[in-house]
Amino acid sequence: MNGISFGQYYPADSPIHHLDARIKIILSVVFIAAVFFVKSYFGYLVTLLFLASVIGMSRVPLSVVFKTVKAVLFLIIFTFVLNLFLIDEGRILWSLWIFDITDQAVHYAIMMALRLFLLITGTTLLTLTTTPMDLTDGIESLMSPLKIIKFPVHDVALIMSIALRFIPTLIEETNKIMNAQKARGASFDHGGLFKRAKALLPVLIPLFVSSIRRADELALAMDARCYNASPNRTRRKVLKIGGRDIAALFIAAAYFTLILLDRYFFLSAVDRLFFGLF
């Protein structure tokens, strides 16, 4: 169970890595929104260039970035093919058996596939350059306005960070339990779906029981360390916005503006010029 590697944090010393987690989360949201606004090849080109430069600055090797994309390559190809054959509008370019491929279909299929690719790569960059811990802190900070409506921001953040802390422990425990059951003749890789699911009970039940016990002990330890002692809880970690973060926000804003302009004003004069589209 150590194949969980796609999208996982890749340590490096880069400007992107050093950006505040909150800024990165906001940038990711902006990026996702922008991708949905793009409707022209020019827009996609700008977006691709933007993404490529961020990847370059992040010092994460391309092979690592594309590992995640590879995992969903099938989905991207599937989307492409589906759109290719299902869109009817436009001039027919080729006829294969009962399927007609039109120019609009090609155009649309490329756009959708590109969109998927950009969304996945963009969000992967977030998790590649930000530790789960920093992400949790970022989310907690961004959520803090919710305190006004009495939303338990700190508790939710604590739940997330405790879950993160225990993931490796639980994986190790699962392996131990699986070994103990295998030693008693259990098998986890034979049989159809139903049989395999049933075979997991001797692993899941001990895991649940032990997790409940863990939770109980952890809660006691937290009580012993005065959890909820004071409404005036302090925070050791400080998230500071620096010049770099402001710069990143400006660049993102510029990018987003360009996309909007392209969509609503130019609607790609560039596209019309070069591809005879629209």
């Binding site: 960070s161 422990t169 002990e217 952890l218 360390r225 005065c226 002692a229 809880r233 050791r236 400080v238």
Partner: protein
């Protein structure tokens, strides 16, 4: 030096209901007084009530009888206003090295207690450094539980409690799940902490650890059977047998030799001392 007790347990009882209706008394009529700076070992077999006593001593559990009372630095554990003062003063470390760490990184875990208490940020950083040094784990700020041994994890658990600056440290079987090396690491840490003035209360079933203390309390079936310096306990073999405890190897060897008729000092713990004794006999 002020000799008022830091922890007083007065006639405490703890019983809980069984699923089929009856009651089990984990502790009955227990009274104990611990002074500042002591190193007390509470020994008992599994099921003797020692964990229950540990949790009574810092208010995690409350006595189930009306007359029972537990006072920590003169504060009653039943007094809700003092709950967190008591838990800060009497920190407790548990048995499982894994199930006490709240965060992925040591520095975040150590900050948990002080953050809850509202300690200012700069002071938290100082406390983290101080606590790590006190347990011999400086340089482990960025360590994660995955890379640490049992002994290291328990020392971090102790540091996490120390970050609250308690006057008393209670250890509920904190060495039971460790290998010999880990146990040594923890015991040395406790000795150092006690030397620096922290009251240490160690709960264990391992009589080896009793010798580090100045006082041993024997618990059996929810009651205190003995409360004396370890040397006296070691000399009374019947007491140990009655309470389902065994002697560590050195005093056990001494005892066996006494059985043969040799005049060997019973309360001997260190190999070197026993070797001296034996040479003296020859």
């Amino acid at each position: 030096m002020e000799n008022s007790p830091v922890i007083e347990v007065k006639n405490a009882e703890y019983r809980y209901k069984l699923p089929d209706g009856g009651f089990v008394a984990a502790l009955s009529g227990v009274s104990l007084s611990i002074s500042a700076g002591e190193f007390v070992v509470i020994c008992g077999h599994n099921g003797s009530g020692k964990s229950t006593l540990a949790k009574l001593m810092n208010g995690l559990l409350l006595p189930t009888n009306a007359e029972g009372e537990v006072l920590v630095k003169k504060m009653k554990t039943t007094d809700a206003a003092h709950t967190f003062d008591i838990r800060r003063s009497a920190g407790i470390v548990f048995q499982n090295p894994d199930n006490q760490m709240v965060a992925t990184f040591v520095e975040d875990d150590l900050a948990f207690g002080p953050e809850n208490l509202g300690v200012p940020r700069e002071e938290i950083e100082e406390r983290i450094d101080w606590a790590l040094a006190a347990v011999g784990m400086s340089g482990h700020r960025k360590s994660t539980p995955f890379k640490m041994s049992g002994g290291q994890k328990q020392r971090i658990a102790i540091a996490a409690v120390l970050a609250m600056k308690p006057e008393i440290l209670i250890l509920d079987e904190s060495t039971s799940m460790l290998d010999p090396k880990g146990r040594r690491e923890v015991m040395n840490t406790l000795l150092n902490l006690n030397k620096s003035g922290i009251t240490v209360i160690l709960i264990t079933h391992n009589m080896d650890e009793a010798f580090f203390a100045s006082r041993a309390v024997i618990l059996k079936d929810g009651q205190i059977k003995a409360d004396a310096p370890p040397e006296d306990i070691f000399s009374d073999y019947n007491l140990l047998i009655e309470n389902s405890l065994t002697l560590p190897a050195v005093p056990e060897t001494a005892r066996l030799l006494r059985e043969k008729g040799l005049d060997v000092e019973p309360a001997v713990f260190f190999v070197e001392d026993l070797a001296e004794e034996l040479c003296r006999l020859l």
